[in-house]
Symmetry: C2
Subunit: 193 residues, 2 copies
Amino acid sequence: MARPSNRDKILAEGLKVVHERGFASASVREIAQAAQVPLGSFTNHFASKEAFGLEILDLYYEQSHALLAVTLLNEALPPLERIELYIDRTIAKLHDKEMRGGCLLGNFGAEVTDHCEAMRHRLIAIFEEIRQALIHALRAAVTAGDLPADFDCEDTAGFMFASLQGAILISKTLRNDIPMQRYKRQVFGRILH
Amino acid sequence: MARPSNRDKILAEGLKVVHERGFASASVREIAQAAQVPLGSFTNHFASKEAFGLEILDLYYEQSHALLAVTLLNEALPPLERIELYIDRTIAKLHDKEMRGGCLLGNFGAEVTDHCEAMRHRLIAIFEEIRQALIHALRAAVTAGDLPADFDCEDTAGFMFASLQGAILISKTLRNDIPMQRYKRQVFGRILH
């Protein structure tokens, strides 16, 4: 197996540093140190911190997309179970980091969208992909007869996505999963009821 | 009328700078420049940037609390109208800033809670006050017969608060109010239906 390049090390370790410290707080020096590469290596590989930010966004979304594939987009599961699994896996991921860090996508939404149009547009595209995965699962639930035929899948998916981001944000602040469990109860007790 | 002190100027202008640029991005130098005070004035008045952060959090919450008083806590209005007004005023505030900036409370939730326990605890207390105002309006709606007697006001208020933060976050990213309008539709069409 090929050794990871300095570029790959900067991306993998830099993603962790930014997720823990925030994009503005994480200095290029800290990122290079975490990746165990010389500081000059960062500037060799990335034209700017923003260029690096776009790449870690894509790297993070690769993981998020893998989660969508085994949950919301997983045709082997009944539609509503896909949604439940998506929420449960999201809660488990938060616990993996001891309820710190939250969702990098939401953090970037709060922190960088007012200052970097390229990252804002990339986030918009990612948010839309996640909403489309939710729409896909909701439409399957309509087809399966689990939701009424006139159910507004588009609107509900947008609401469910935004509300999940809100639940993650408040859970991160409280450092417990009460807002996530509440989200799950309301989604299944009321929104999809 | 007394002239504002340097301390007041730093807080008022610093709040604007942090809301626009983020807490980590806003340097003490920029804050002092915006307030038109010497750099040393900041360090005279605030023991640390965190101490300043706590004070602008309180200053921002004064405005948020004033909004709660005329909406959710306003006994002169029918309960569900209070909630509608709260959402509408929140949307209007986002438009005032051309859909930029979002909510400072949510931004701090994303950006500072992993790094400053004092700010995290202050945010938790503020979040709880807002949730209590929502509970108050929902309980009044139950009393008025607008919601069923067994309606879970506590759980729903927590969900509505977190989901509103999510809607603000996504609206800020999209730079339009579609997620906010969607939030309002789902709250009145499904959650409080």
